[in-house]
């Protein structure tokens, strides 16, 4: 018996030795406040912090002007601000500017710099920084500027407190673009250690693991309620529900109804709109989707409402073009039912296009987004009914971004496309034939011409009409199989409150707080 005890002791000793050895290797990643991260949800309430789950790692660079992925912009919304910023109602309010005026002909914009705005590094925001930030996004010396719409600027004048921007033509949407992040002019570490003016400041990032933000105490406006927010990356959609149930995560947006239904009393499920155009995006440059009839056949073959009912328990708004209902001004309702569900018509069109027996296609889906995977699964079944054999190819988010989005090596893909700011242009410009982010290779001269007219449109009404024409063009030519604007089901741990939804794809954490 004694020997056994000895063996046990020895084993324990070995184990602890092994652990110290292992632990030693990773001490460097332990941040100073590693203690608090270990607590359960209750402990986090004590320290006024939360853990937010996100489905993907952020872009490799955190520089807000270079961010591509909607998921990156969603998170960094808390760190950066522009001269103006959006509100949950869809308005723009002054942020780094304290106010602005627009000339009656909408060509001259005058901003007054807000006094006492500090960057997260402690430096005051000066006019020089603002001008630098705008010019950086407007710079076209290396091809297309970061924000193409800024090429409308003909002149920028500034003194210490006022900034005057003159446009070549009037543009009622121009103000939306000045939500672009104001960055310090003399700082070159934005890629890895971003510095902005938002309510939260960036603390650290561990690739593939987490991003930590802390409340910025010297924020010019209403300070954030929470002291600390940790974004934890959970790429494995299957273990997500477990992590929520176990108490590892306090907030997760973009859940499926199946996931949400499992959460029980620990969570409140908030419902908003995702503000994405979810579609089966078709590569218009490859066979058979280069044939318009095939694309239209697909549109007839897909029953949007059934997708919403089956995969999302009825939550979600069907759409018919690259516009979602939150943009009331631009949303064209009758396009939604332009292609009613009609499998027979679909088969006729396929036969006309030379595919009487259907064909085989691949649907690429990023494996970390359960809503898109579920949608694709229903699509496969619906397409089967008209003789099309669709195969789902699940890929890592990084692969999707590189191969599907950037290199356009795909047949079709189910994703959601967001608007980077509250303009119709943000959704529609990408389908002009020369746009760098036209990943579906849509090429239609009428569409390009319409977009050219938008640039010189006399007034806002004319512009709106033109945008609607562009949406109609996309629908008529069946650029993609439009499905829905997903319902955004957000799981928020019971005891937390104050989350607000926006008409764009962002997650504002500044108002989230523990209920007293």
């Amino acid at each position: 018996m004694k020997k056994r005890l000895l063996a046990l002791l020895l084993l324990t000793g070995l184990l602890s030795a092994a652990l110290t050895g292992c632990g030693g290797g990773s001490t460097e990643q332990a941040s100073g406040d590693g203690q608090t991260a270990n607590g359960s949800a209750g402990a986090r309430a004590q320290t006024n912090e939360i853990v937010v789950g996100i489905a993907q790692d952020l872009d490799e660079s955190l520089d807000p002007h270079k961010a591509v992925a909607a998921g990156t912009k969603e998170v960094m919304f808390n760190v950066f601000e522009g001269l103006v910023k959006p509100t949950p109602d869809g308005d723009l309010i002054p942020a780094v500017a304290s106010g602005y005026t627009v000339s009656p002909d909408q060509t001259v914009y005058t901003f007054t710099l807000r006094e006492g705005v500090l960057f997260h590094n402690g430096d005051p925001v000066e006019m020089e920084d603002v001008v630098y930030s705008i010019e950086r996004c407007a710079d076209d010396s290396e091809g297309t500027p970061l924000i193409p719409a800024l090429s409308a600027i003909s002149d920028i004048q500034s003194d210490e407190t006022t900034l005057t921007i003159t446009l070549a033509q009037p543009d009622s949407e121009f103000l939306s673009y000045l939500t672009l992040a104001v960055l310090p002019a003399d700082y070159d570490g934005q890629d890895t250690a971003p510095v902005g003016t938002g309510p939260f400041k960036f603390v650290s990032r561990a690739a593939q693991d987490s991003i930590v933000l802390e409340r910025f105490a010297d924020y010019w406006g209403t300070p954030a309620e929470l002291d600390k927010v940790t974004f934890r990356i959970i790429e494995n959609a299957d273990s997500l529900v477990m992590s929520l149930q176990s108490g590892a995560i306090d907030l997760f947006s973009h859940l499926t109804t199946t996931q949400a239904a499992q959460l029980g009393d620990d969570f409140q499920i908030l419902e908003g709109t995702m503000n994405l155009v979810q579609a089966l995006y078709l590569n218009n440059a490859v066979e058979p989707f280069s044939n318009e009839k095939v694309r239209q056949a697909l549109c007839y073959a897909v029953d949007k409402q059934q997708i919403i009912d089956l995969a999302f328990d009825g939550y979600g708004s069907p759409i018919g073009s690259s516009m979602y209902p939150a943009f009331q001004k631009y949303f064209v309702e009758d396009l939604t039912d332009y292609y009613p569900y009609d499998p027979e018509r679909a088969m006729e069109l396929l036969a006309e296009a030379g595919y009487p027996d259907g064909f085989t296609m691949t649907i690429t889906v990023p494996s970390n987004y359960q809503p898109h995977i579920d949608t694709a699964q229903v699509l496969v079944e619906q397409l089967k009914a008209v003789g099309i054999t669709a195969e789902i190819q699940l890929v890592e988010w990084g692969t999707w971004l590189d191969e599907t989005y950037t290199n356009r090596q795909f047949q079709s893909t189910v994703v959601g496309v967001d608007a980077s700011n509250m303009t119709a242009r943000a959704l529609l410009e990408r389908f002009t034939s020369t746009a760098g982010d036209n990943f579906i290779n849509y090429s239609d001269s009428d569409y390009d011409a319409l977009f050219a007219q938008v640039q010189t449109a006399a007034d806002d009404d004319a512009r709106t009409e033109l945008y609607k024409e562009m949406e109609r063009n996309l629908t008529e030519h069946a650029a993609n199989v439009y499905i829905q604007d997903l319902a955004d089901l957000v799981a928020l741990r019971t005891g937390l409150e104050g989350l607000r939804f926006y008409p764009i794809y962002v997650l504002d954490l500044s108002t989230v707080r523990y209920a007293q």
Partner: protein, 271 residues
């Protein structure tokens, strides 16, 4: 030496595996519902007579899905073992029988390969061939299983090289090929059969693991591994999905494992 006839383990294993194989074969041609058909029943329903394992979040019949998933897993494991056994036995026979430098070199290579965890090696091969394709999974796993079969058969062939009946066959002028196939091969069945059962089980496990990770077989060829990962996402609302899928893997391996146990006991203790 124990009795050379049947034993309880072999019998139980044969019955269980036979029943499962019959079910799986049936599943290849007929399932109660189309495994992919949505709304085959109400969503997320528990087990009933109409749906033996209930339904998932799309209202698909889980029993039909498990049956088809088991079929995929079963076929992949079979093809994998076939590749491994044929190539491995050939390699083992040649090197074991002829010996020499090639034998030395191959055995060293073999040793080095055992340092590679089998799934890891399969993952490496798969990453080169391209993940997410069932044929690549079969090739990757097949390659991985060659060394273990080679090792087993090599020993058998080397030991049988100099037994009397082989020597006499050689003296009578039989060609090497004839000796290998006609004289020695039938006598290696004793060691080959248990190796086949172990290989099959390893193949089922490896395929399920890779598909669980999402780099093995992906939809529409859902295998048990992928389905278990899917089931994990609805564990609380449809636990019978995870249990049914996991249970199917366990039963499949358990049956063949019992057969292997029985075979080994029949052939004496082959540790």
């Amino acid at each position: 030496m124990r009795r050379k006839s049947m034993n309880g383990y072999l019998l139980a294993g044969l019955v269980l595996t036979g029943a499962l194989t019959a079910l799986i074969l049936l599943g290849l041609v007929w399932t109660p519902y189309d495994p992919d058909a949505m709304l085959a029943g109400p969503k997320l329903q528990g087990p009933t007579l109409a749906h033996l394992l209930g339904t998932d979040s799309f209202g698909r019949d889980i029993f039909s899905r498990v049956l088809r998933g088991a079929g995929t897993t079963f076929l992949i494991a079979l093809s994998t073992v076939a590749i491994g056994a044929v190539c491995g036995t050939a390699a083992g026979a040649l090197t074991g029988y002829f010996g020499g430098v090639v034998d030395e070199a191959l055995m060293r290579l073999n040793d080095a390969l055992t340092a590679f965890p089998s799934i890891l090696l399969a993952l490496v091969v798969l990453s080169i061939l391209g993940p997410g394709n069932k044929y690549n999974v079969v090739i990757a796993l097949g390659i991985v299983f060659i060394p273990s079969f080679a090792r087993v058969t090599r020993a058998a062939f080397a030991s049988l090289r100099d037994v009397n009946y082989v020597k006499s066959a050689r003296l009578m002028g039989a060609s090497s090929g004839r000796i290998l196939v006609r004289q020695i091969l039938p006598n290696t069945v004793q060691v080959l059969l248990p190796a086949l059962t172990i290989g099959f089980n390893n193949a089922v496990l490896a395929e399920a693991s890779m598909s669980y990770l999402g780099i093995g077989v992906t939809p529409p060829d859902a295998s048990l591994g992928y389905m278990l990962s899917e089931a994990q996402g609805m564990l609380t609302s449809a636990p019978w999905y995870a249990l049914g899928t996991g249970g199917a893997i366990v039963l499949l391996i358990f049956g063949v494992g019992l057969m292997g146990e029985g075979l080994q006991r029949r052939g004496g203790e082959v540790a």
